[in-house]
Structures are given as C-alpha cells and as structure tokens.
Subunit: 126 residues, 2 copies
DNA sequence: CCAAGTGTATCGTTGTACTAATACAGTAAG
DNA sequence: CTTACTGTATTAGTACAACGATACACTTGG
C-alpha cells in the first residue's frame, strides 16, 4: 500500500500517510477491526519518524476512521453502510461550503460551479 | 469599500484586501482604467504596511485584474464581458478540480458532491 | 510477574508564510 | 529640472506547521 511516499511533496508526509489509509477504508479494502501496522513498524517501512505516523493516525482518529488503543495497537473502526453514507454526505457538504466560500472570494457564482462540476464529472463517466 | 478589515482573521491581510477589490471588479463596480488607491494611501487607510498592499496588488496582477505601472499607479484592467465569462469558467473549473482532488482524498465521490452542491445552491436560490 | 510490544507526551530543529521596515527607482506635474 | 508622488526590491522579525528525537506509560502473551 505504501510503495511510493514523497518527502519532497508540498503535501505533508502525515497527510500522504493518512490519505492512503483513509481511501483504503472508505473503499472497503480495510474492514472494521483490522489491526493496522504499529507506529514504529510503519515508520520504519516508510523511513519516517514514528511521531509522523502518529500524527497521521491521530487525524484518522479525529475523523472516526480508526481507534488508537494504548499498548494494544491501532484498529480500523467498523462503520455501518448507513453511517458511511451519512458521513460521506456530511463530508461532501463541508467540502462544498468551502468551495462556495472560495468561489465568492473570486467572484465566481454557483451556477458556473455547477456547470463546471457537471463538465468534470461528465468527462470521467460518460 | 474598506470599512472592516480584520487583522486577527485566519485569512491573511493581503488576501482580504485582494478579495475586496477582486469581487468589486468581477461585479463591475470598478471599470477598466480606474485608478486604484496608491500603495501608501491604502496602507495608511487600513493601518497596514505598504508591502502588504503591494502583495495584494501583485496577486491581482497575476490574475489579470489590475496592472501596476511603476511611478504612475495601479489601474483596473479592462476586460470584455466575453473574457470575463471565460475567466469565470476557467476559475470555476480550477476550483472544481481542487474540490474533486480533495474529495478523492477523503473517499467522497462525485455524485455526493453534486447532490451537496445542488442542496447548498437550492437553499440560497429557491 | 515480566519482557516485548504497543501508543503517549514533551521538547527541539527546521522550513515557510505573513507582515513590516527601509532604501531604491520610475513618472509626471509644476 | 525639481519635487512629490508612484511602484520595486531587499531584508528582518514573528508565528506556526512539519518533522524528528527521546523518555514515558499501558497492554498482552509467555
């Protein structure tokens, strides 16, 4: 899962790490109860400091994707399909609000955004 | 135009300044050729360092909204309605691509985004 | 119980964004 | 020309995020 991680990328290491795991969970590749690599183990694999892995795990914990158990390990949280969907909707709403704020800042209206989104989505799934 | 500017806001001062002017231009309140306040003048008005105003003007220049003329002043660029629209479309597309990248990072799919966008827009313009 | 594993907490170094200070260079009206 | 205005460039200080180093505390299998 972690063949390529780029230390020179503008996106922080811990974000890259969290990102991989996040999508793996969201895609169902990692099921609830799965025991993730330990902090030191993953850090060693990635040639990264353990604290950086911890930061990634903490972010995933705040988002409700994993659970850190002191002395035991880090485990993927089991979430129902129902919950998964509502979480996706909540996440989407938050993203869209950010988008609208940014758009207002640039003088771009909502209709332009809808058109652009349809255009981008249409390209991917025609 | 600059009654309230917040030094304690998380958004940088120069972004706040650029934002006001940007929307004013996009909304047509400032027409092409209009001479903006000088760097020092605006800085004095806002109780801010001139270099901060310069940074705002530079950002607007990169985006093609204004033109800085050494020794003369800073002027609003005249842009045709056609160009304005295409610029808006370009800006919207860029924003949406960023949104999609962020969404992928979080495991949110495009359909969820479209639903969320429609929802948010529907609330504002029912 | 205890040893080897796990996460936790704290601190220091580094890099970068933001803001300011100050000296420089072009323009144009008188 | 001169002067009073414009933008330009360089530098410094501050704040904060990212990353790493190291010592601590909990859990579990033997």
């Amino acid at each position: 899962m972690f063949d390529k991680i780029d230390p020179r990328s503008p996106t922080p290491l811990y974000e890259q790490i969290a990102g991989r795991i996040r999508v793996a969970i969201a895609a169902g590749e990692l099921e609830g109860g799965h025991n993730l690599s330990s902090v030191r183990q993953l850090a060693s694999t990635l040639r990264v400091n353990p604290a950086t892995v911890v930061q990634a795990y903490r972010e995933l914990e705040r988002e409700g994707f994993v659970e850190l158990r002191h002395g035991a390990g880090t485990f993927v949280r089991g979430v129902s399909e129902q919950r998964k969907k509502s979480e996706r909707v909540r996440g989407a709403a938050q993203l869209v609000r950010g988008l609208l704020a940014e758009a207002a800042r640039l003088g771009v209206n909502g209709e332009d955004l809808r058109t652009a989104l349809d255009h981008e989505l249409g390209r991917k799934v025609p």
